[in-house]
Structure formats: structure tokens, C-alpha cells
């Protein structure tokens, strides 16, 4: 994608942008400058609230009513965007720039068929209706939709998330834009689908020579997709340069901190703590005399607090806004006390045991097999990680354990006792033993109740204590999850996402639970906050010997926190084994595909395998091995006809595959399988 092109597709210079809140202009972007050459891609990273999306909206002048560009310039393909009149701006939006947002479901009109929506992208450009339909068909083909004809006749809700995002991309590219802005385009998608969409964008970009502005919080995605990257913090570009050097040799302490927060390199909870970035992002529009990051930087000295460092080049094309660039990589780590994680004794009765668990949902008269014969156990003090694409049954398994749904067959045991299928029939001891931390703390905490009230109630219901004793224990609990007592009088809306999640964790721990279900507890949080929450969960485990059932789509996180990992596909257990074994392999072909879909910061490393198509419907699962329709290592008719049993291929390692372990080991060493005919055709 590196054709020589000198003209700039986007040039942003000293952009200052303010939001007017309660009568005061609050700076959101502070003198941001960067540019993108034609055919190149530029990534903007940073935590939420640092101004990434605002920058994108400012560039296309699509700001909310209280937003205003107060200084600086933006030009796209040589045209000064800020000088455009209303009519020219509309023309500019129609022909020159395209945006793709995070949620494709809300970017498409639910009441109009896909074909008509894509065709509209052409008719607004003046194409005749008949021709537009034909062009729409081509456009859908270009984004690798296998059967454009039938997709065009469908409504958006009948498509999977990945397909929807392809349709949106097809519409965005209809006008052959000078600049394509992608704002977290794959954040809501499964890793396997994300990989496909990213490949697609990369291919199309190479083909069309479109300049891409890629906004993401995920450094791995940026590393895969972009030529250059800019790191935003509090509305300031703190570091900028080629992706390789910025990520491999960062010169700003914030970039260093961000990179260290990510669990990677196969580190696990018993081998080390995660680094965090202490403190908080300055509040919106705060006036900061010195370096924007000084308040959270371990290297900051007096000069950093009073004087703003300028963007200085560390090497050609790579600049950082820091006085201590040379020392940035040596940013001191925080003192980490050794954690004493008790060894797991698997000779005892397991804490929780699933025995041949099945769950069938009725939907439109069809049977949806959400869980099929799942058997697994979790011991005291152990974390079982649960991975799989959406629809694989992860959540159903967790909900069955909690008794939110009753199993259709099989039983759940707690310490050798069969549990009542539904939570309504379980006693207080069972309720307190099994608790949950939800994904989204905004939804999990009652926004009208103060934190103190939330915790006191949990204390009285779960621990059965009231009055002064309950108050004492709530204070203890709050201290335990590293919140200050002051938090007790605050309402959730006054807390940041990470603090809210701490409150939710405190609530789950009020009754001293034996097992806590963690349902994507960090996926709504920024990486630095994620690291702190993971550290907290591990600390609580070391201290109280609690077990976790940990659901996450982030495999790095799962690997870090889990002792054993269960891989689910279409409600069936495909693989179950110790975390290292499952990750290092030899593993199930499905696990292999999941792992190779994840873009890493270190770049490359794994040979890539792509899964074709969507997960089959759970109403009509494929015959034989349910994975055979997408399996890159399919043997032949045996896979289509006979379902392989889940067997213990080595100690503690169970797998459901016809390929013997030794052969898998050889296959894995030999690299990815040849690309199948279906994949090349598209």
C-alpha cells in the first residue's frame, strides 16, 4: 500500500476545539497537528475522553451544537474544510469524506432493505436508480459478501454484526472518498470477525489508495492497520510517529504506560502484576499550565508541572512531547508486593461442577441448543476462563450456574450438593456463595442509589448483618477494593467507569462469595483501568481463595487471569485445559483460529488463520463435528458425519477433535493450512 504520493489527503494544523458547557468554553483539543498522505493510514489512540472521536468530528465539521473549532486549520485533499459554506460542506460530506462508526446496527436504517440503502449511497451521487442497484451489487461483492443478491433483499437485523459492518463499509466506499474515517469500527465484533473486517479494510485501502484515519483504543489493531500513529492525551498529541517505532520504542511516559497495561507475552497472574497508570484524566477543559500528563507521570519534576514541553523529534518522523524522552522507557514500575496465590488442590471435591448440562431455548418454534452436554468443574481458588465467539453459550453457562436460567438437562453442583435449578428456590447460603460482576457498571449499579446504600443493602441481604456491624464491614469492604470512604455518599454518576466497577465488585464480595462470575468485567473500561481491576480481582482471590468463572473476548486478559480455560463453540465444549497448554498448543483447530485472529502490539508473530463465514445457527447445528463447516484443518467425511467425543488427550487437557494430538502438534509446527478454495474465490 506504499505508493509514492506526495499530496496530503488530510492536513490538520494546530487544531483547537472547544465545547461550551454551562457558559464556559472548555478546550477539548489543544493544538493538534498531523497529516495523512494519500493511500496511507493514520491511527489515533488514547483512552476514552482524550478527544479521539472529537478530532474526527471536528475534521468533518460534524460537531454537536456546543462544539466549536476555535483555532487552527483542517484541509482535506487540499481544500480548506473550515472555509466551506453550508452548501459546499454538504457537497464535501457527500463526495469527499466517509465515516464508519462503531455500531453498524445503528448506522443502518432498520426499516429499509440493505440493497436499497447501499443503492442510495450511489443515487445521492447522481447515479440513475437502475444503475445504482447494479453498482450496489458490485459494492457488496467488493466487501466480500458472498451472495450480494440475497443480502440486498434482506433487512439489517437479518445480518450478523460482521456482515452489517461490511455493508456500512461498502456504503462508505461508494463515493471513492479522499478520506475514510473509521471510528472503532471493530470494537463490538468478535475477534474472528474483527480479523476479517480488518483484513478487508487493509485490502480495499491498498486497492483504492484511500487515506484512512483509524481511531481505536486497541493498540494491537492500530499496530496491524496503520502506518503512523498519534497518541492523544487530554486533547494533546503527546507522541507521534511510525507505528513500529512508537510501539516498540515509545518516548512518552503515557505511551509507555499504555503499552505496559496490556497483559501480553503470556504473563499470568502468578508471575507478575499488571502495571497501571495511577490517577485520572484531567477533567474536561481543565487549564493545565505544564505537561498534560504531569499529574500522573512518575518521571514528572517541577519543570513538567509549570512548563509545557514542545513536540520534539526523537528520531526522524517520530516526535514526543516530553522533557524526559530518553528516560521514558525506564518509567519506574510501581512496587508490587508478592501475591500468595494458594496452589489449587484438585483432589478435593470441586467447588462447582457442571454435569452434562444442556439448555434448549424455544425461538419461533425452533429449538435453539445453547448448551449441549457441558461437563466441567471449578475448584476452590481457581479461575476458569470461558472463551468463544458470541452465541457460543458462554453467557448461558454462567446464567445457568447462577440460576437465572434453569438447565434443560443435567445438573449444577456446589460443593457436591445439587443446586436448585433456579435462584428463586436457592437459600441465602447458595445465593451468597455465587455472585456476579457484570460487564457494564452503568447498568449494574442503580443510578439513583448512593454507593453506601448499595453496599449496605448487599451486606444485609447476603451477609445477614445490619446496623453498626454492617456499617463497619462496608467501610472495610470499600477499603478492600481501594475506594475511599468518601465514595459511600456518592452516586454512581459521580464516579468514573473504573470506580463504578470497583463498587460492583465490592457488592459481589459483600457476602464473602465462594465463586464470582465475571462477565466481561473489563471490556467497557480503558486499558489502564482494566489492569487495575484485574489486579484487584487477583488480590481478592489471593486473599480470600475465591474462584472465578471469567468470561472475556480478550484472550490476553483471559490468559492472564485464568488457571484453566474452556473453549466453547455452538454450546459445546471444544477444549478444556490449563491456560498455558491451551494457548501454547497443540490446541483445537478452533482455538487456533481464535488465537490467530487477535492482533497484537508486538506485531505479527502468529501465522494467521481466518475462519470463513458466520457461526452456524444453533437451531440447525451442522452434523458431525459442529465446527467442520469452518474448520481449516478438516480431515474429510469423518468430520462431517461423526461428532468427535471430548477426550482427555493428555493430563488435564480435554479436546473434541478427530485429529490425534501428535498430529495436531506436527500440523501446528508446520504453520497455517493452505487457504481453501472458498477463501481465494472471494
Amino acid at each position: 500500500m506504499s505508493t509514492v504520493a506526495t499530496d496530503l489527503a488530510l492536513d490538520v494544523s494546530d487544531l483547537e476545539l472547544v465545547y461550551r458547557v454551562r457558559g464556559i468554553d472548555r478546550p477539548v483539543l489543544r493544538g493538534v497537528s498531523f497529516s495523512i498522505e494519500r493511500g496511507r493510514s493514520y491511527g489515533l489512540v488514547g483512552e476514552s475522553g482524550c478527544g479521539k472521536s472529537t478530532a474526527a468530528l471536528g475534521i468533518v465539521r460534524y460537531l454537536p451544537r456546543n462544539g466549536r473549532i476555535s483555532a487552527g486549520g483542517v484541509s482535506v485533499a487540499g481544500r480548506d474544510v473550515l472555509a466551506l459554506g453550508a452548501r459546499e460542506l454538504r457537497e464535501f460530506h457527500a463526495r469527499t469524506v466517509s465515516m464508519v462508526y462503531q455500531n453498524p446496527g445503528s448506522a443502518l436504517n432498520p426499516g429499509i432493505r440493505v440493497g436499497a440503502q447501499v443503492a442510495e449511497a450511489f443515487t445521492v451521487l447522481g447515479t440513475a436508480r437502475k444503475e445504482a442497484t447494479e453498482r450496489a451489487r458490485e459494492a457488496l461483492g467488493r466487501v466480500q459478501i458472498a451472495d450480494p443478491g440475497s443480502v440486498m433483499g434482506r433487512y439489517p437485523h437479518q445480518l450478523s454484526g460482521g456482515m452489517q459492518q461490511r455493508v456500512v463499509i461498502a456504503m462508505a466506499l461508494a463515493k471513492d472518498p479522499e478520506l475514510l474515517i473509521l471510528d472503532e469500527p471493530t470494537t463490538g465484533l468478535d475477534a474472528t470477525v474483527e480479523a476479517e473486517v480488518l483484513d478487508l479494510v487493509a485490502n480495499l485501502q491498498a486497492e483504492l489508495h484511500t487515506a484512512v484515519l483509524f481511531i481505536s483504543h486497541n493498540l494491537g489493531v492500530i499496530s496491524k492497520m496503520c502506518d503512523r500513529v498519534g497518541v492523544l492525551y487530554a486533547g494533546r498529541l503527546v507522541e507521534e510517529g511510525p507505528v513500529e517505532t512508537v510501539l516498540q520504542d515509545p518516548r512518552h511516559p503515557y505511551t509507555v504506560g499504555l503499552l505496559r497495561c496490556i497483559p501480553r507475552g503470556g504473563v499470568r497472574k502468578d508471575q507478575g502484576r499488571l502495571d497501571t497508570i495511577p490517577g485520572f484524566l484531567p477533567s474536561l477543559g481543565a487549564s493545565i499550565p505544564g505537561c498534560v500528563f504531569a499529574g500522573r507521570c512518575a518521571l514528572a519534576d517541577d519543570r513538567c508541572h509549570t512548563e509545557e514541553p514542545s513536540l520534539t523529534e526523537a528520531r526522524a518522523g517520530h516526535a514526543a512531547r516530553c522533557f524526559h524522552q530518553e528516560r521514558a522507557r525506564g518509567l519506574p514500575r510501581q512496587e508490587a508486593a508478592e501475591l500468595d496465590l494458594a496452589p489449587i488442590d484438585r483432589s478435593e471435591t470441586p467447588l462447582v461442577r457442571f454435569d452434562d448440562l444442556g439448555k434448549v431455548f424455544q425461538q419461533h418454534g425452533a429449538d435453539i441448543h445453547a448448551l449441549v452436554g457441558v461437563s466441567a468443574a471449578i475448584w476452590k481458588g481457581e479461575t476458569l476462563g470461558l472463551v468463544g465467539e458470541s452465541g457460543s453459550g458462554k453467557t448461558t453457562l454462567a446464567r445457568t450456574l447462577l440460576g437465572i436460567v434453569g438447565p434443560s438437562s443435567g445438573i449444577v453442583e456446589l460443593e457436591g450438593r445439587t443446586l436448585a435449578p433456579r435462584f428463586q428456590k436457592r437459600g441465602r447460603e447458595d445465593l451468597r456463595a455465587l455472585q456476579i460482576v457484570f460487564q457494564n457498571p452503568d447498568s449494574a449499579l442503580n443510578r439513583r442509589h448512593a454507593v453506601g446504600r448499595i453496599l449496605m443493602r448487599a451486606m444485609s441481604k447476603l451477609a445477614g448483618v445490619r446496623g453498626a456491624e454492617a456499617e463497619r464491614r462496608v467501610v472495610e469492604l470499600v477499603d478492600r477494593v481501594r475506594l475511599s470512604e468518601r465514595t459511600l455518599t456518592q452516586k454512581p454518576v459521580q464516579l468514573s467507569g473504573g470506580l463504578k466497577q470497583r463498587v460492583a465488585i465490592a457488592r459481589a464480595f459483600a457476602g464473602d462469595p465462594k465463586l464470582v462470575v465475571c462477565d466481561e468485567p473489563t471490556s467497557a473500561l480503558d486499558v489502564s483501568v482494566q489492569a487495575a481491576i484485574l489486579n484487584l480481582l487477583v488480590e481478592l482471590q489471593a486473599e480470600r481463595g475465591v474462584s472465578y468463572l471469567f468470561i472475556s473476548h480478550d484472550l490476553g486478559v483471559v490468559r492472564y487471569i485464568s488457571d484453566r480455560i474452556a473453549v466453547l463453540y455452538l454450546g459445546r465444549l471444544m477444549e478444556l485445559g490449563p491456560a498455558d497448554v491451551v494457548f501454547e498448543g497443540p490446541h483445537h483447530p478452533y482455538t487456533e483460529a481464535l488465537l490467530s485472529a487477535v492482533p497484537t502490539v508486538d506485531g505479527g508473530g502468529r501465522d494467521r488463520i481466518r475462519l470463513e463465514g458466520d457461526v452456524p445457527s444453533a437451531a440447525e447445528p451442522p452434523t458431525g463435528c459442529v465446527f467442520h463447516t469452518r474448520c481449516p484443518r478438516r480431515l474429510g467425511s469423518i468430520c462431517d458425519e461423526t461428532e468427535p467425543p471430548l477426550v482427555e488427550v493428555e493430563e488435564n487437557h480435554l479436546m473434541r477433535c478427530h485429529i490425534p494430538l501428535d498430529e495436531l502438534r506436527t500440523l501446528l509446527a508446520a504453520g497455517p493450512p493452505p487457504v481453501s478454495a472458498a477463501a481465494t474465490a472471494s
Partner: protein, 296 residues
């Protein structure tokens, strides 16, 4: 934060603490900055004052007959003229808000409270309870409000104030419950409700302590919107002879008494009618403002 002994993070920036309070005062400020809300509030305030202190505002006694010359058209002495019974129309209009201002809010309050409870129950439990009640609600909503009210008043055979309050309140109940139910349905999808169930909370606690506070803003909006309808309903019922006994001054009763003489005695009907309109419009102005501010 990676060490057990590390200090606790600062829970929120110093400004965050006052944020919720700021949001409240921001709402109030927005309300007071909306001209329609201010005008509506002033007009309602004026009528409430008149209802409370008729003795202070009325230039003449609004009740006794034949104190003044009869049927004088509006003039400087009698700005709204006098009626056929020799009473000052201006005084009677000023004093005539009392009935409506007692019945309408009481009826609306009753309807809102009952409707909220019904909405919480149907929205939380769903299932059979919800299906049956929802169909009944549909049936009630299909009937014109006034006709239903007349039928019930006639059937009951009494038309005291409390009966009118009860009837309008009961008619409003399903309307309010439908709105509240929709909001409750959305709330029960949120995880905090699931969390409450998983710690063994009973349904009444979840409905009234967990969910109700979150739908309360909507209930407030619903109350103000219903109040406008209630004023209209009370006026209509009084017009056809329920609720108030003459000679007490009442706008709707006055219209009823004099509308047959509208030509040439238009002032006896027009001014009470304007008074009713002014109250309904002001309540709606305030309701719109509140709705806009809460639903932002």
C-alpha cells in the same frame, strides 16, 4: 495500585462531587430560562392566589344576587360586565377557579399514584397479569374520557367533589400505567435489577426501592401532562352539571348558565371560557417545559 499496600486512588476529582447537584440546579436553571414555563407558572400562580384569597382580589361579592344592575356590558366600572343576576362577572371569574383547582390536581394525583403502581406491577411481572391488564387498559383507552365519566357519574348517582375526583382518577389510571409500564420494562432489562434478584430481594422491594426512583422523573412529567387533561375534564363535567352546586362561582357552571344568552350577553360566557383556556394552556406550557428538560 499494583501493590497491596499502595494508597487508595482518589475516588473522584473534587469537582465530581458537586456534579449531581450541579445537574439538578442546571435543570432548574433551564426551566427558569424557558419563557413559556415562566409565563405558564405565573398564570397558574395567579389563579391559585385567586382561589386562596377571593376576598382580596374580588372587587364585588361574587355570590350574592342582585347587588348590582343586571346585564351591563363591559365598562370601566365593570370590566367584564355584570350577569343577569346582577353579579360582577369579573369577580365571579376571579373566584371561579377554586373548584377546578381542587378537583383537577387531586384527581390527577390519584390517577398518577394508582397508574404508577399498576405500571410497576404489570411491567415487572409481565406474563398473564400484564396481558390481562394491558387488554383492559386498551379497552378503557378506546372509550372517550368524558362519555365514560358521565356514564359513571350517572350510574353512581352522586356528583360530589370526591366522586368526581375518584372517577377522573380511575379513568387516568390505565393511561398513566401504560406509560410507566414501558419505562419499567426498559429498567428491568438493566443488570442492577438482576443483581437485586440474585441477592434474594423480594419483588415489592425491587419495584418500589430499586425501579421506582429511576422512573420517577417520567412520573412527574406524566403528572403535569395529565393535569392539563384533568382541568379540561373537570370543566366539561361541571358544564353538564356535575361537581358544583350554584350559586358558587365556577367557570364551567357560568358558561353552562349563560351560553344560551350568548347573543347579546356574550361577556357572561366569553370571560369564564378564556379563564379555563388560560389555565389549560399554562399547565400545558409548564408540562412541555418539564418534559423537555427531563427527557434531554
Amino acid at each position: 495500585m499494583s501493590s497491596v499496600a499502595s494508597p487508595a486512588p482518589t475516588p473522584a476529582s473534587p469537582t465530581a462531587r458537586s456534579e449531581a447537584r450541579a445537574a439538578r440546579s442546571e435543570r432548574l436553571r433551564l426551566l427558569l430560562r424557558t419563557p413559556t414555563v415562566v409565563i405558564g407558572t405565573l398564570i397558574i400562580g395567579f389563579w391559585v392566589f385567586c382561589a386562596l384569597f377571593p376576598g382580596i382580589v374580588c372587587p364585588y361579592n361574587p355570590i350574592f344576587d342582585n347587588q348590582l344592575p343586571t346585564s351591563i356590558s363591559p365598562s370601566l366600572d365593570f370590566p367584564f360586565g355584570t350577569d343577569t343576576n346582577g353579579r360582577d362577572v369579573f369577580s365571579r371569574v376571579l373566584a371561579g377557579s377554586r373548584n377546578i383547582l381542587l378537583i383537577a390536581p387531586a384527581a390527577t394525583l390519584l390517577g398518577t399514584v394508582l397508574g404508577t403502581i399498576l405500571g410497576l406491577i404489570t411491567g415487572y411481572f409481565r406474563g398473564i397479569v400484564d396481558d390481562v391488564t394491558s387488554r383492559l387498559v386498551d379497552a378503557v383507552l378506546a372509550l372517550p374520557l368524558i362519555v365514560t365519566a358521565i356514564l359513571i357519574v350517572t350510574a353512581v348517582g352522586s356528583s360530589s367533589r370526591s366522586v368526581v375526583v375518584l372517577i377522573i382518577g380511575l379513568i387516568f389510571t390505565p393511561v398513566v400505567s401504560r406509560t410507566v409500564r414501558a419505562a419499567v420494562l426498559a429498567e428491568t432489562e438493566l443488570d442492577y435489577v438482576q443483581a437485586a434478584r440474585l441477592r434474594g430481594e423480594r419483588a415489592p422491594y425491587i419495584m418500589f426501592s430499586e425501579i421506582l426512583p429511576n422512573v420517577l422523573p417520567l412520573v412527574v412529567v406524566e403528572f403535569t401532562v395529565r393535569l392539563g387533561y384533568a382541568i379540561f375534564a373537570v370543566a366539561s363535567l361541571t358544564f353538564i352539571g356535575f361537581g358544583v352546586q350554584p350559586p358558587s362561582p365556577d367557570w364551567a357552571a357560568q358558561i353552562n348558565q349563560y351560553y344560551t344568552f350568548i347573543d347579546p350577553y356574550w361577556w357572561m360566557t366569553l370571560f369564564p371560557a378564556i379563564a379555563i383556556a388560560s389555565l389549560v394552556v399554562s399547565v400545558n406550557l409548564v408540562a412541555d417545559g418539564i418534559r423537555e428538560v427531563y427527557e434531554r
